[in-house]
């Protein structure tokens, strides 16, 4: 069941850019690619758009996951695309995760609109393998949950950091 909210073309462009990976090997270009980005509702509540200033680039300093969590508003909902880098015992992998962030403190109206529009944005993200519905700061801070979603019990590090810290 949907709300009728539409997805901006820009959103799809961003998704496609993040999806295409191995094509650019040039370090400079790689560092400009997005590591994480947030999407929100436009002011008139009719479209889903990219949130200004929410991008974290691959080349940025510091722990990208922590930075990403800090960008999430504590009292409002968002959608996010996060390009996770993780390692299992055998390989190192990168996968896109679609995150639906709806904290308990968000206003009911916001929760209702974002939840009923989730289908619209998710449909645009064809081929995405991982989706995460998160409703609180303690849940999203827990890297183990994300790691389990990505590769189950075999994941040993996330963003270069071992999980059992």
């Amino acid at each position: 069941m949907a709300s009728g909210v539409t997805v901006d073309d820009n959103v799809l462009t961003i998704f496609n850019d993040m999806k295409v990976r191995k094509a650019n090997v040039n370090e400079e270009e790689k560092s400009k690619r997005k590591k994480a980005v947030l999407f929100c509702l436009s002011d008139d509540k009719k479209h889903i758009i990219m949130e200004e200033g929410s991008e974290i680039l691959q080349g940025d300093e510091g722990d990208p996951y922590l930075k990403f969590v800090k960008k999430l508003p504590p009292n409002d909902c968002r959608y996010a695309l996060y390009d996770a880098t993780y390692e299992t015992k055998e390989t190192k992998k990168e996968d896109l995760v679609f995150i639906f962030w709806a904290p308990e403190n968000a206003p009911l109206k916001s929760k209702m609109i974002y939840a009923s529009s989730k289908d619209a944005i998710k449909k645009k993200f064809t081929g995405i393998k991982h989706e995460w519905q998160v409703n609180g700061l303690e849940d999203i801070k827990d890297r183990k949950t994300l790691a389990e979603k990505l590769g189950g019990a075999s994941v040993v590090t996330l963003e270069g950091k071992p999980l059992n810290d």
């Binding site: 009728g4 009911l108 989730k118 519905q133």
Partner: protein, 374 residues
């Protein structure tokens, strides 16, 4: 759901709380719903007419209508409702939403297990990405009305008369445990049994909400005997303290095995209703369901209900499963979450294109509802 009354000859309806509480001769108390779906269409129409004339005070043809429905509503009933709405009421646009989906969305989730415990049913409805997984719906009749019946039996055993206020002209204060002293109103009309029972049930429901408590671990007689007692006064003036019964009665919701009058072991406790429902869904989505168990419905407001449910689920769920129960603190939200969700949806600018318009109904017929309101 509003109960209303009718006179057997000539079919007159008395609708809404105020009218309902007036004692009248020969007036039965009925509900248009059965099993969560519309059964008595005449009564339902009477309620809708009443709503438009007394509450909305406007023409039906001027306003779109969004209705919520039980997740297990039959196709035939949905189509019949659509037909009634467009043909009889000339409503300009219509939409039908499943209660569980509205509740999940109102709680910021597109995926979750909605546990709805109301008066007539306790139901577990798995919602995934905004769609109800019909094969996973599990229903149990152990809900508010069952508790009311158990309380009724308790009062019969204790010889306490649940005299409803409509009969009482005056009463005097009496010592605790002493027989009540009240005078009956004279010239009361000969009311029907169904109406009188409903009035008594209201008294019992107030007792139910104020006195009962769900034990946080399986009921134990010795532990229950230590519980602090709660004082309660009946409308008749009779008052006493209640102790172990406070815990014993609602235990039937979670552990029906010892309840008198229930046939065999066929009934599921609330915990099992949830785990059975999740167990009927694809194994890959179960973590998503256990991680978002949304508790809704008036019966869940019983003191201790959610704590006990949390305990039951953490014991019954697979060991490594992350469990999270969501239960609104506000009693309004807990009882009306689907209405609240629906009201927000219907007011969204973007939703206006989602309605079934009168034109679409004229072209596509009542089958449009299956297509446009999945």
């Amino acid at each position: 759901m509003g109960a209303e009354q009718e006179i057997n000859s000539g079919r007159s309806y008395y609708i809404d709380t105020t009218a309902l509480h007036v004692p009248r001769a020969g007036v039965e108390l009925i509900s248009p719903l059965k099993n969560g779906m519309i059964e008595d269409w005449n009564a339902f129409q009477a309620i809708i007419d009443h709503i438009y004339s007394k509450h909305i005070k406007s023409e039906p043809s001027l306003h779109p209508v969004l209705m919520s429905e039980a997740p297990w509503n039959s196709r035939a009933k949905r189509e019949k409702l659509t037909e009634l709405i467009f043909e009889h009421y000339n409503i300009p646009a219509f939409f039908l939403c499943k209660t569980a989906v509205l509740t999940a969305f109102a709680n910021g989730r597109a995926t979750g297990l909605v546990l709805d415990s109301g008066a007539t049913h306790t139901t577990a409805i798995p919602v995934h990405d905004g769609y109800v997984l019909q094969q996973g719906i599990v229903k149990s009749p152990l809900a508010g009305d069952f508790i009311t019946m158990q309380c009724r039996e308790l009062f019969q055993e204790m010889n306490i008369d649940t005299v409803p206020p409509y009969m009482i002209a005056s009463k005097e204060p009496v010592r605790e445990g002493a027989p009540p002293l009240w005078t009956k109103k004279d010239k009361l009309p000969p009311v029907t049994k169904s109406w009188h029972t409903y009035m008594c049930n209201e008294v019992i429901q107030d007792f139910q909400a104020s006195v009962l408590q769900v034990s946080d671990s399986p009921y134990d007689e010795q532990v229950a005997a230590q519980m602090p007692t709660v004082h309660y006064e009946m409308p008749s003036g009779y008052s006493t303290d209640y102790g172990a019964e406070r815990l014993r009665i609602p235990e039937g919701l979670f552990d029906p095995s010892n309840v008198k009058g229930l046939s065999g072991n066929t009934m599921l406790g609330v915990g099992h209703v949830v785990t059975t429902s999740i167990g009927m869904c694809d194994i890959d989505i179960r973590p998503g369901l256990y991680g978002s168990v949304i508790v809704t419905g008036g019966n869940t407001l019983l003191q201790g209900f959610t704590e006990r449910l949390n305990r039951e689920l953490s014991q019954k769920a697979p060991p490594s499963m992350r469990l999270k129960l969501i239960a609104c603190n506000s009693s309004i939200e807990r009882r009306f979450s689907s209405w609240i969700g629906g009201s927000i949806l219907a007011s969204l600018g973007t939703f206006q294109q989602m309605w079934i318009s009168k034109q679409e109904y004229d072209e596509g017929g009542k089958q449009s509802v299956e297509r446009k309101c999945p």
